[in-house]
């Protein structure tokens, strides 16, 4: 049913290695567009919602396990600022928080050394200050840039390609592209495939995350099919949202996307990463997402190489939960350094 992978462009993990032991996975080289597979893909919304609503009741993570899971979640956060009023100063503060996301005395009480977030995520113009700050701090943390006319993806095609190249040149090692939603909505899968191929090509060694903007795709079936097409075209990650749509990451959308990732892995042997973005702001939600990944994709995916949260306020809630775990008392926002 599924054709052989056709590309040999995979170079392996080139991203700055994080500080913890990690398994490196070969990059997804992509494959020919397989329309039989795409068209046969189904997603039953009600059943998917039922699975998602039952999951938090099926898996409960408590005490030390909860603390460990929350630490893990922090290492998977793409700490993000995507605002029109971003300045180098704001981005420097973000980078400092990404490098030291949790107060050291809390970490030492938990018996772990320093951790960092998975990456920082910014607009193109903020790449340079971010890269510079992190280099200055001596922290090997990837900088991700949103690209291709983010968030709508409707700027001239050649400029979108060029934006990727510019961002890579500026030092971004991860590029979060947005797909053309109209290709999905009109069923033009070939166009989506070609676009994604071009974006991947433009990224070179930088990893590419395909933002599907699931809130604008109309149906879970479309989400499943778009996920597959983007993976066939060589996406390293598939990502739900820009954070700018009215509906961003949800559990049902996540379930559909990670099941597509699982099918793709079973068919090709390549692991594609997953990034839910937007709307995940509570520690409890983060644990539910991790449980979903663990259940549906397995422990292999519980690494920043293959899973990220696109989030800005999640970290704050996790910090408060961790302090509560250490002290037994509920915490307050101002007790934790702002990002």
């Amino acid at each position: 049913m599924k054709s052989e992978a056709t590309s040999t462009r995979a170079k392996g993990g080139d991203r700055a290695a994080a500080q913890l032991p990690q398994v490196t996975h070969p990059r997804n080289p992509g494959m020919e567009l397989n329309m039989d597979w795409v068209r046969a893909t189904q997603a039953n919304t009600s059943a998917i919602e039922r699975r998602c609503s039952a999951l938090p009741g099926r898996r409960s993570v408590k005490k030390d396990h909860q603390a460990a899971w929350l630490l893990k979640a922090i290492t998977m956060i793409d700490l993000t600022t995507l605002a029109g009023d971003d300045t180098p100063g704001r981005v420097r503060r973000l980078c400092a928080k990404a490098a030291h996301p949790v107060r050291p005395e809390i970490l030492s009480a938990l018996g772990v050394g320093n951790i960092t977030t998975g990456a920082v995520c910014v607009y193109h113009d903020m790449i340079a200050p971010a890269v510079e700050t992190l280099r200055h701090m001596g922290v090997a943390l990837p900088v991700a840039a949103v690209s291709t006319g983010f968030p709508a993806g409707l700027s001239p095609y050649h400029l979108r390609i060029e934006e990727i190249r510019e961002s890579v040149r500026a030092g971004a090692s991860e590029i979060d592209i947005v797909i053309s939603r109209r290709h999905v909505l009109t069923g033009n899968w070939q166009a989506l495939y070609d676009e994604m191929r071009d974006f991947r090509e433009a990224c070179g060694d930088a990893h590419v995350k395909a933002i599907l903007a699931t809130g604008e795709l109309g149906s879970l079936r479309n989400v499943a099919r778009a996920s597959l097409v983007c993976m066939m075209a060589g996406a390293d990650f598939i990502k739900t949202s820009t954070g700018k749509e009215s509906v961003n990451a949800t559990l049902p959308v996540s379930l559909v996307m990670i099941r597509a990732i699982r099918d793709y892995y079973e068919a090709t042997g390549y692991r594609v990463g997953y990034k839910p973005a937007g709307g995940i702001s509570k520690a409890k939600d983060a644990i539910t997402y991790l449980a979903l990944i663990k259940e549906e994709l397995g422990d292999d995916w519980l690494t920043p190489d293959l899973f990220r949260f696109g989030a800005s306020s999640l970290l704050g809630d996790i910090e408060r939960q961790l302090e509560h775990h250490v002290t037994g008392h509920y915490s307050a926002t101002y007790r934790h350094p702002m990002g």
Partner: protein, 783 residues
């Protein structure tokens, strides 16, 4: 493990729900329980231990009720019943509402206690069982409130004996008690011996709700207590949920007692996956189907029937999913599969799997099995066929058996190749396919793209050997109410005896049977003369024997296409029968007068024509319903024909009586085998000529003549007959009910009570209810 280590392994760890409050509740009662009778707990009698199946520890000592205790409980229930039923619906609604609220207020205590006693995961008792219990009381509080306005012609049955199983102890209690007391009945309920504790906690909340003494009585103990309830003379209705084997025994024991009976029994429910289904969701559905409550669910989707082309891929996905299931301490909040209820059940599952697994390939989830307690791993056996023992026998454990199919019609054939008919599940993204398949499945409940969905508003119950009666919805109230009517004894009518000097018309007229659209001679070769009051020989009729019954039932089965016709077509045919009968009204009137020696013939023919019109009218108007269940989707209640109905026609209205049974049955799409009025059979045999000229397809109506007492056993015992209506003048109610135990066919008997066939009691909804089964089809939707 340190936080650092967990960070690397990302294990779940333990998340135990505390048992402290529940154990404290037991300890406050010194770990021993009496019975709840007449609004108070009795002293503790002879006791037996109830254990936690997850670790074998004794939780409490529970009283084994004696027959005297049961008698005391029935007396208390009887004493309370009249006053309870006399309350306004609103008054009763307030009590049911209080019970619903109290279940919610004590929800965690109920949930933990249930898990301790039963072994089911706390997630299920907390998120599924207890919320459904509260929902059931809320819903039926509403039914009590509406009773006076909506059900003015029906009244409570009286005292109900209710026997429930151990798989959903409190939920089954609520399914039994809520509709019963809502309608003004009082109850004596026996929980299963393995799982009495939540029923005893429920007794406490009955007190907290201020429920009048004796409305609810709870007697604990083993099957002997159940037997004392079943055989108690002052109980009006038995409701039983449990095994088909015990259901059959209860059917026999209550036969002829006049007790109303509903049975919700076993199943081997098919789970059909088409190649265009969302396979991952269908796999997840199986987790909810067969690994819910350790597979100890009567309606568990336990027979996987998957389209051949996707079977290997589907099995691979299923096995991968099984690898993720977690089994262990049911109080752990991250557990999917808990303990089976008792070592006896564990041994039974083990035995069946050992006996049958070699027919196929066995795969068991690799989850670690705890050292102590009754744990059985999730199991899949593929490569079986319908002939495999495990495809036919209910296992009642976490064991899924699987086979493949090629076409939709083959899927239906395999699905229906079972003695059971409780539930069925269909997965396909094609709405045309699912809505075509659902009505074809022999089941009381069909779930489309989902499974094990329940709600108080939606009827639940089976066909075939899965029992009869529905629980939930308006249809569920049928079995806790009866028409307001004074029973009058039926006077037996004997045929006129042969005169000393026969007056015989020279021209012989021989009435035959009407089988498969043809006139048939009696297999036995015996006939009897029919005499008028004055001694005229009116004709001869055949004496049917068991082989004639066999032939008639076979003809009825061959006419299965009738069940698929439209109501409009059936209406047209019934009108036409009426028209043709009307054209021969004089002749029929004369025949009736000659046979009965009266002058009512004309009136009876007119009533019969009107009755045919009534059911012609109903044929396309007995609507189903769309139930407002709490989900995005619809639960359709469809009125489906029962199948082949055997009928013993009343003696006292030879034409009208036959039409009164035949017309509602065939209007709803059933096929019938009718035994004509025994003393006055010739109106029926004349009538088949009317049928012949009215486009009634062959085999839809089959008519035999002969002794009802002789035919009761072969017809009610026939395993291919789905229901028997005994409205005979002969006292055959006990035989019919007893013999119907064979395939647990529905029986509707008159218990030797008369019915006014000419009046309102002779037609209407009561007949339509008996002529149909409500099938609930759940269709969640959303894109």
């Amino acid at each position: 493990m340190t936080v650092k280590e967990i960070f690397d392994t990302m294990d779940y760890g333990l998340a135990p729900e505390s048992a402290k409050e529940a154990l404290g509740w037991i300890a406050e009662r010194k770990g021993q329980f009496g019975l709840y009778i007449g609004g108070r707990m009795t002293g503790v009698g002879d006791t037996f231990a109830t254990r936690n199946p997850a670790n074998g520890e004794v939780l409490a000592q529970v009283t084994q009720a004696t027959p005297d205790d049961v008698d005391t409980a029935v007396t208390a229930a009887r004493k309370a019943q009249r006053k309870w039923a006399a309350l306004s619906g609103h008054e009763r609604a307030k009590y049911l509402y209080a019970l619903a609220r109290l279940v919610q207020k004590h929800s965690r205590l109920f949930a933990v206690l249930e898990t301790l006693d039963n072994g089911k995961p706390i997630r299920e008792s907390r998120d599924i069982d207890i919320p459904l219990v509260a929902r059931h009381f809320y819903y039926h509080a509403g039914m009590a409130q509406l009773q006076d306005a909506e059900l003015p012609d029906r009244e409570a049955l009286g005292v109900c004996g209710q026997i429930i199983p151990w798989n959903f102890p409190l939920l089954m209690l609520s399914w039994k008690i809520a509709p019963a007391i809502a309608m003004g009945n009082t109850v004596v309920l026996k929980p299963a011996e393995y799982t009495s504790l939540t029923a005893l906690l429920f007794a406490q909340i009955c007190d907290e709700a201020g429920l009048p003494k004796g409305v609810v009585n709870i007697v604990t103990g083993d099957g002997r207590v159940g037997e004392a309830i079943v055989t108690h003379e002052d109980i009006d209705k038995i409701a039983f949920t449990g095994s088909t084997e015990v259901g059959r025994v209860i059917r026999r024991e209550t036969a002829g007692s006049g007790k109303s009976l509903t049975l919700e029994l076993g199943g081997k429910s098919p789970y059909i996956v088409f190649d265009d289904a969302d396979l991952d969701s269908a796999v997840e559905g199986l987790v909810d189907a067969i690994w819910f409550n350790q597979g100890q669910v009567c309606c568990a989707g336990s027979r996987l029937i998957v389209q051949e082309g996707i079977a290997d891929r589907f099995y691979a996905k299923l096995k991968a999913r099984m690898d993720k299931l977690r089994m262990g301490d049911p109080l752990d909040k991250s557990i999917d599969v808990g303990a089976v209820v008792d070592p006896v059940q564990h041994a039974q599952i083990t035995k069946l799997v050992e006996a049958g697994a070699s027919d196929g390939e066995l795969y068991q989830a690799p989850c670690p099995i705890p050292d102590t307690g009754c744990f059985y791993p999730p199991t899949l056996i593929t490569g079986l066929s319908s002939a495999s023992m495990l495809m036919q026998e209910e296992i009642f454990g976490p064991v899924l058996v699987a086979t493949t199919f090629r076409t939709p019609s083959e899927a239906v054939e395999i699905a229906n190749n079972t003695r059971y008919g409780l539930a069925a599940t269909v997965w396909s993204e094609n709405v045309n396919l699912t809505l075509d398949i659902a009505p074809k499945l022999a089941a009381g409940v069909v779930w489309v793209n989902g499974t094990n969905m329940f709600d108080a508003a939606a009827g639940f119950g089976g066909v075939r050997e899965s029992g009869f009666g529905r629980e939930g919805g308006w249809e569920g109230l049928q079995t806790y109410t009866k028409p307001r009517a004074k029973a009058q004894s039926l006077k037996p009518i004997a045929a006129f005896a042969a005169p000393k000097e026969a007056k015989v018309d020279a021209l012989d007229r021989t009435a035959k049977f009407y089988i498969g659209g043809k006139q048939a001679r009696p297999d036995g070769g015996y006939s009897q003369a029919v005499w008028s009051k004055q001694g005229d020989l009116l004709g001869h009729v055949g004496i049917a024997n068991r082989k004639d019954i066999r032939n008639a039932v076979e003809a009825a089965h061959a006419a299965a296409g009738w069940s698929k016709t439209t109501g409009h077509l059936r209406a047209q045919i019934l009108y036409y029968v009426g028209e043709n009968l009307s054209a021969r009204a004089e002749e029929f009137a004369a025949r009736i007068d000659a046979m009965m020696g009266g002058r009512n013939g004309r009136k009876e023919v007119e009533a019969a024509v009107s009755r045919l019109f009534t059911y012609a009218a109903w044929a396309d108007k007995y609507d189903g319903a769309a139930k407002p269940v709490p989900m995005r989707g619809v639960a359709l209640a469809m009125n489906e024909p029962v199948g082949v109905i055997g009928g013993f026609c009343p003696d006292d209205a030879p034409l009208l009586g036959l039409v009164s049974l035949m017309a509602p049955a065939i209007a709803m799409g059933n096929r019938v085998v009718l035994a004509a009025s025994e003393p006055f059979p010739l109106a029926a045999t004349d009538f088949y000529q009317v049928l012949d000229t009215s486009d009634v397809p062959a085999g839809v109506v089959n008519i035999v003549t002969g002794s009802h007492a002789e035919l009761a056993s072969p017809l009610a015992g026939h395993l291919g007959v789905d229901a028997v209506w005994a409205q005979s003048g002969a006292d055959i109610s006990a035989i019919v009910e007893g013999e119907s135990a064979g395939n647990l066919k529905r029986s509707w008997v008159n218990n030797a009570n008369a019915r006014d066939w000419f009046g309102a009691a002779g037609e209407g909804r009561e007949f339509l209810v008996h002529a149909t089964e409500v099938k609930t089809i759940w269709v969640p939707y959303g894109e």
